[in-house]
């Protein structure tokens, strides 16, 4: 079988805290400022990125467990088991993360962002600008994903902390 080989172009130097699963005091990723360091040979590739308010970070979920084909979203009994490609669950055939984040500051070789769903030490594969072609105004999602969104947006007061995020009502 063909293999596809990539190389890290940077690393998450400050990411989300690794929390004890038993603790419930998780924070929202949108309240955490993360720092990515881009390796010297690629820093020039960041020129002009500061013109964007948001970027897409693509990274290697390097601590993901063994791949699964079916999963139950967030392990919740009331949610249906679905295929892994119908979720953003990290233990997937290719453990790759794609995350839309707010660009807080470009201070080469550092990129400071808000909203990145990655731990310290995560290898960065690519950085892309978020453009108008990435916006679906009102996508359809399953009821359980809608429920999860409602819970999160209420718990963390998304209207206040991420007024730029989410579908138009």
């Amino acid at each position: 079988m063909n293999r596809i080989v990539f190389k890290p172009i940077g690393i998450v130097e400050k990411g989300l805290p690794r929390l004890d699963k038993k603790k419930s005091n998780k924070t929202s990723r949108f309240l955490v400022e993360s720092q990515i360091r881009v390796f010297d040979e690629y820093v020039e590739g960041l020129d002009g990125l500061e013109e964007y308010s948001h970027i897409i970070v693509i990274y290697h979920l390097h601590e993901a467990g063994e791949e699964r084909v079916r999963v139950r979203p967030w392990g919740r009994e009331e949610f249906p088991e679905v295929g892994v490609f119908a979720t953003r669950f990290p233990w997937r055939p290719n453990p790759i993360g794609v995350c839309v984040v707010e660009l807080v500051e470009l201070d080469k070789p550092y990129i400071k962002v808000r909203g990145l769903d990655a731990w310290d030490g995560t290898p960065i594969i690519d950085i892309k600008p978020y453009t108008y072609h990435d916006i679906v105004r009102r996508p359809k999602i399953p009821w359980w994903a809608e429920k999860r969104w409602e819970e999160l947006s209420q718990r963390w007061n998304y209207k206040e902390i991420v007024p730029w995020l989410g579908p138009y009502e």
Copy 2:
């Protein structure tokens, strides 16, 4: 240097036509219905994907040329040269494509989509659902990207062909 190794989970069986660069009769990717075939061992992973109206396709830009760090967007003289990470140009350090598309039909092992920016034979790395966390309502982009958007949306009449796409006015 560490290497990150992925494997194809599918392939683009019908993609965008490869056009002669000299010809100007390019079509919009939103007018093309593409077909992805997911390999047998991963087909179960698609269960439930049909509940989404849009998905994110992640693929290997396997015919990209040698990586560049700086590029001039679409080779246009009036646009400034910028870093490759400030563009979606394919000749990047890791030739990986991320494309938001409309899910037309899930007919396992086939996924029919509209809007995929990939040619026949492109290896698929991952499929993710497009959710509310992927929506930035009104992102800021540079003037040249704004200009390009205006041109494309007028040329192809986006309001008609992709009413779901783009920022709210």
